[in-house]
């Protein structure tokens, strides 16, 4: 029971007044960010990283603040799904299917409460999964050599692109452009500058924060400007009366099975590389519909159709932290952003994190438990307060988002050149959204490119240039096999996932969870 001891130490770290305050602020901010349409966990966390970084907080408090924002945003996404029929973020998409009909039928309060409780159940059990599974994965990862790491990074790129994108070529392009951007700067192994074209600004490489904020936040502003006045943004009637915010006991009982199934499915989807919370909620909803069958009235306001996807997406959010913390390989867009945060705090996730910085890891996990309880307390009785935020018109909200993006980067680097670079990434991100090219592989490429190449070259230094070392161990072969399967299989099974795409494309924003 080493994990439990470590967790107890984690609570000792997390339970200081300062950290509790930061967790509370993070939960409040996160719920707001999640609730506001157009801001999800990934762009919400993205614009906050430079700000938090410039505040100079130490690693653990900064992590606690930002992961509370992450969990909070997963809770908040449901509020606008239910009240406005607009998902606050992509994983909350499935919640609109039954949540909005419930709200139209005068059950907005019940829908919000049930979804809040489901979110709690999903996140709570997923965090326990993190406590027990992550150390196991760390033990496995300690066996990895450079060749295995290289194979695992290949797997991450193949599955992240393969599962989340409709077009493998576009996913491959996105990964390649991310890796190419990672090459910019001085080569760590031999000290020669690469792809910097004699420009001094490029010698240190491109800061991933600039790319992330540009692609996630600025491109969102451009999308809002483009879509203003389109019919689908104003067609839905907001539901303003919330009604009773406490669900009848019978409804909790009726949905408990859905929460359990949603939690399990979502957790699995979260742990698997490349899938993330959107797939978690999609799986949970579809399976629930199959399980309940004709007895349900899905799509017309069945509370089980709210409980299952909400439990699913919050469980996936917790599950996605496992590969990110234990292996340093994020399973979804938001965890890629969280990885960026760790790297900017000079913490390298992976097996060594658990042995070298146990206080950071376990403090963080304890903070997740605390945040989860806070979120339940904030979200069930106080949901009316958050719902009021939805009345802020986007023409005040999005300019504020753009300006905070700018000052975050400017406070970090004090450089006009970096701001111009960020604008460039914003325009590129907009173009990618238009062409349906996933953005997450680009971010992942910039984040992991250096590590991936370092492990490749280290492996070949060990073998003195013999390429067979790359597929020389069973573990490496397994990873490479999974990578090929993860990249190729979606081409053949694409027709089974089409419904998800049909729904997803109507709200295409490229920043999958």
């Amino acid at each position: 029971m080493d994990s439990l001891n470590a967790l107890a130490n984690g609570f000792a770290i997390a339970l200081t007044w300062q950290n509790l305050m930061l967790a509370l602020i993070g939960c409040l901010l996160g719920t707001l960010i999640g609730a506001l349409p157009g801001l999800g966990p990934s762009n919400g966390v993205a614009i906050l990283i430079p700000v938090v970084f410039s505040l100079g907080l130490p690693a653990t408090p900064a992590l606690i603040l930002l992961t509370s924002v992450y969990y909070g945003a997963m809770y908040g996404g449901r509020i606008s799904s239910i009240l406005l029929n607009i998902p606050g973020d992509e994983p909350a998409l499935m919640t609109t299917l039954d949540g909005y009909p419930m709200a139209r039928a005068g059950q907005a309060g019940e829908a919000l409460a049930i979804s809040g409780i489901s979110s709690f159940v999903g996140a709570f059990f997923a965090t326990w999964g993190l406590v027990f599974l992550a150390p196991q994965l760390v033990d496995l990862a300690l066996l990895f050599g450079p060749a295995e790491y290289f194979a695992m990074f290949t797997l991450a790129f193949a599955t992240l692109g393969g599962v989340t994108s409709a077009n493998q070529a576009k996913a491959a392009f996105a990964a390649a452009i991310g890796l190419a951007l990672a090459f910019v700067g001085v080569d760590g192994q031999t000290g020669v500058p690469r792809f910097s074209f004699g420009n001094v600004h490029f010698y240190d490489g491109i800061d991933f924060l600039i790319a992330i904020v540009g692609m996630f936040a600025l491109s969102e502003v451009l999308v809002f400007i483009e879509e203003r006045g389109n019919a689908n943004s104003t067609s839905t009637q907001p539901v303003t009366s919330i009604g009773r915010a406490i669900p009848p006991w019978s409804m909790i009982k009726q949905t408990s099975g859905s929460m359990t199934r949603g939690t399990i499915l979502g957790f699995i989807a979260g742990v698997l590389p490349g899938a993330g919370a959107s797939l978690g909620s999609f799986l949970a909803y579809t399976v629930e519909k199959k399980v309940v069958g004709k007895k349900g009235f899905f799509g017309k306001g069945d509370p089980r159709g709210v409980a299952a996807p909400e439990a699913g997406n919050n469980a996936a959010a917790g599950g996605a932290l496992i590969p990110m913390l234990a292996l340093g390989v994020p399973g979804s867009g938001t965890t890629a952003v969280l990885l960026a945060m760790l790297l900017s705090l000079n913490i390298t996730p992976g097996p060594l994190l658990f042995t070298n910085n146990p206080d950071v890891v376990w403090g963080l996990i304890a903070a997740l438990f605390i945040a989860n309880v806070m979120l339940l307390l904030l979200n069930v009785p106080m949901v009316g307060v958050f719902a009021r935020v939805l009345r802020i018109p986007s023409y005040y909200l999005m300019p504020a988002v753009a300006m905070i993006s700018f000052i975050g980067i400017y406070a970090l680097t004090n450089s006009t050149f970096d701001l111009m670079l960020m604008i460039g990434f914003g325009v590129f991100g907009w173009l990618m959204r238009k062409l349906n090219i996933p953005m997450v592989p680009v971010i992942l490429g910039i984040l992991l490119g250096e590590l991936m190449e370092k492990n490749l070259r280290r492996a070949l230094t060990i073998s003195d240039g013999d390429l067979s070392i790359l597929y020389g161990s069973p573990l490496a072969v397994t990873f490479l096999g999974m990578a090929v399967a993860g990249f190729v299989l979606p081409i053949f099974i694409a027709k089974f996932v089409t419904p998800k795409r049909a729904v997803a494309e109507s709200h295409n924003d490229g920043t999958s969870d």
Binding site: V51, S54, L55, Q168, A169, K170, A172, F173, A175, A176, I177, A180, F183, D187, T190, G191, V192, P193, R194, F195, F197, L218, V221, L222, F224, I225, E226, R228, G229, P393, S394, Y395, Y396, M398, P399, A400, A402, M403, I404, F406, I407, Y410, A411, T416, L419, M420, I423, G426, V427, W430, K434, L435, N436, E453, L456, R457, L460, T461, D464, G465
Partner: protein, 143 residues
Amino acid sequence: MSDRIFGAATIVLSLLMVWATGLIEESFIQDPLGPKAFPLVIAGVMGISGLVMIFKPDAEPHWPGAVKLAELVATVGVFIAYAQTLPIAGFVLSTAVASAFLVWRLGGTTRQSLIGGVVISVGIYALFQHVLGLNLAKGPWGF
């Protein structure tokens, strides 16, 4: 068609990458693979993805019309102008102007834009400079 154009651009980009890889000067410190090999592999992946996009393009995306496009270009122009004037004119003035423009383009009335610009700028200044202690750009007047 958009995919085909983008695919062609991707191929040009991958060829540029190959060319830029040729410019890398080898150092006397050497590992078996060297600094050029992996970038060439990635350029290859990029080139192939470009070819696939040319031969198997997706359905045409919904491009904005000429007016919308002009609006987007103007927005990017405002972003660029903002980035350039920030260190000269200071945070409060340049942010007020830039956010007033954004409020206006996102559907606010003239009055809402003016009020919104000032409120966003002063609000962010008060919060970030005074509560959080971040250093924002200082203009000739110190704010």
